[in-house]
């Protein structure tokens, strides 16, 4: 064996070692959480092992049959789904406009839209709390502690992301297609539903799924802007530790439930996560 092929093989083995170690390190904390969620309190306080043969289903059944947690779960599902739908719908309209019209100042509008993604929740929650509880009020109805409040609010980070992702896709659809249809007298609605949406369908699906996951994962806004009625799964998870104290098995089970969507959609959207998180500064 010559020296260079030896080095090449060593390099290949090295790459595998690096990636096997990295994969174990990524999965270990999540695997441990699963192990905790499958153990009863008695098993938990034995010496820790990573091997699990039994499954203590009560950790899952108890919270899932608890009306409070059921409400949290329903809220999370409603808020994430409505927000994903709203964001995708608005982003399709907005990106179609940005891609086909030469509007005055559309470049700055585009950048301004994207920059909303950077709004830090820690700095925004206080003014938002005050606006929701005191200012944006119609009679006795305020946005505080409502699902509508959260659905609107999550647009601040999801809409910029959706607009970035769909802008590239809209620009990729040939203008001639909708131009021709418009010349033939088709209405704007027809053009959008019959030409644009079918052609952009994969991109629209990815936008919707990722927006859904980001909304499902959100915690800080949900924690400050809801109190009883509109609490979500993530806030329920945090309450579990501070209030109920130490039922670690159930907490781990709720965590597993909360990261189920991430596990399900991972393979589908992993290529686009980077685009989402860099608000398009880097193309994934």
């Amino acid at each position: 064996m010559t020296r260079s092929t030896f080095r090449k093989r060593l390099g290949r083995v090295g790459v595998y070692i690096i990636w096997i170690v990295a994969t174990i390190l990524v999965l270990l904390p999540i695997y441990w959480m699963f192990v905790v969620s499958a153990r009863s309190r008695v098993e938990l306080f034995d010496a820790p092992t990573f091997i699990q043969t039994t499954f203590f289903a009560e950790n899952y059944i108890k919270p899932l049959s608890n009306p409070t947690f059921q409400r949290y779960l329903t809220n999370s599902l409603i808020v994430a789904s409505c927000n994903a739908l709203l964001v995708t719908f608005l982003a399709v309209l907005a990106t179609y406009a940005l891609s086909r019209w030469r509007l005055k100042g559309d470049q700055s509008i585009f950048f301004w839209t994207i920059s909303n993604r950077m709004a830090p929740p820690a700095a925004f929650m206080l003014p938002l709390f005050l606006l929701f509880t005191r200012v944006l009020k119609i009679g006795t109805f305020s946005l505080f502690d409502t699902q509508i409040g959260l659905i609107l609010l999550y647009c601040i980070f999801n809409l910029p992301f959706a607009i970035w992702l769909l802008k590239g896709i809209m620009d990729g659809i040939p203008v001639e297609l909708d131009e021709a249809a418009l010349v033939d007298g088709a209405s704007l609605t027809t053009v959008l539903t019959k030409i644009i949406v079918p052609l952009a369908a994969p991109g629209i699906a990815i936008t919707a799924v990722l927006s859904w996951v980001f909304a499902w994962n959100e915690y800080l806004f949900a924690a400050t802007l809801t109190s009883v009625n509109a609490r979500t799964v993530t806030t329920g998870l945090a309450e579990f530790v501070t209030v109920t104290g130490t039922n670690w098995g159930q907490m781990a089970a709720i965590s597993m439930i909360s990261l189920l969507p991430a596990l399900l959609f991972l393979a589908l959207v992993q290529k686009y996560i980077v685009v989402g998180l860099t608000f398009g500064a880097v193309k994934g």
């Binding site: 839209t113 709004a119 945090a238 781990a252 909360s258």
Partner: protein, 292 residues
């Protein structure tokens, strides 16, 4: 046919929603920052205070130390993430069997809710049944306790951030590495450059815009970090891991000191804006280079 009125019509709903959720709170926080407004104070309602809140802020040791803590946390975490992320991205440039599988698993932490990240790490490190303290004490005799020792808590928070965000750095740097042209490297090889020289004089300068953009984005993220640290340590022990976000949320907010909290929020916002302006500058200068 393409009347600008229709175009604006399509755009307006988006603009209205972003105005309500983005611009309105921003203007409101500037406004309240000039007032004394505390539900629990003797003075009822808002009392104009000029720049008093900001004057107070400059001498607020709690806030300033939280800010310093956050910046140093961000600096260490992000630096280590860059080293690890670069090594991992480098190995992904060439194809090998199972690459897609490894890369997909690697992206998993990015999809997990930050609050659940905090929960996992709490389960790993909790004294009593967490495997980390158990094995550290069994094998190395180290008394590891993040609830008691400040340095253990800080170290764990940094490690957690590395676990959560290294994949992001890896994937972004990979995108940069794969979009680099091959010619400069071939030329350098002909000229007899060694690996280090190629890295130092070709890779780094060409990757600089992406490195800077990623660095600023990570710093922005770190400035806003709340959920996972709150879940893991609750900001403790003492104030050891209390970041700016946790400080505003758990210390200033419950005191209902709204005017002062607004001033503080605005300062955090200011830092974020400076960072995003830097990102914008780097991005636009890069696209100019490309177009030239």
């Amino acid at each position: 046919m393409r009347s600008s009125r229709t175009g604006w019509g399509l755009l307006v709903p988006t603009l209205i929603i972003l105005f309500i959720t983005g611009v309105l709170p921003f203007l409101y926080v500037i406004y309240i920052g000039f007032f004394d407004w505390n539900i629990f104070s003797a003075k009822v309602g808002m009392v104009f205070a000029g720049v008093n809140n900001y004057r107070r802020l400059v001498f607020d040791a709690d806030f300033l130390s939280a800010l310093g803590r956050t910046v140093s946390f961000a600096f260490w975490a992000v630096s280590i993430e860059f080293v690890l992320g670069y090594i991992l991205a480098r190995t992904l440039v060439k194809d090998f069997r199972g690459k897609t599988f490894f890369r997909t698993i690697h992206a998993l932490p990015l999809m997990v809710a930050p609050i659940a990240v905090g929960a996992t790490w709490r389960l790993l490190t909790i004294p009593g049944f967490g495997p980390v303290p158990y094995f550290l004490s069994k094998w190395f005799g180290i008394d590891y306790n993040i609830g008691r020792y400040a340095d253990h808590a800080i170290l764990t928070v940094v490690l957690m951030d590395i676990w959560h965000w290294t994949p992001f750095v890896t994937l972004v740097l990979l995108a940069g590495l794969t979009s680099m042209p091959a010619e400069p490297f071939e030329q350098a090889l002909v000229d007899g450059a060694n690996r280090w020289q190629m890295f130092r004089y070709i890779t780094i300068p060409m990757m600089m815009p992406i490195i800077l953009t990623t660095f600023f984005i990570r710093m922005m993220d770190a400035l806003r970090v709340v959920d996972e640290i709150w879940m893991l340590t609750g900001g403790g022990p003492g104030t050891a891991t209390r970041t700016v976000g946790i400080h505003i949320w758990r210390v200033v907010f419950p005191k209902t000191d709204y005017g002062y909290g607004s001033a503080m929020s605005l300062l955090v916002l200011y830092f974020t804006l400076v960072l995003s302006w830097l990102v914008y500058t780097v991005m636009t200068s890069r696209s100019q280079e490309v177009s030239q």
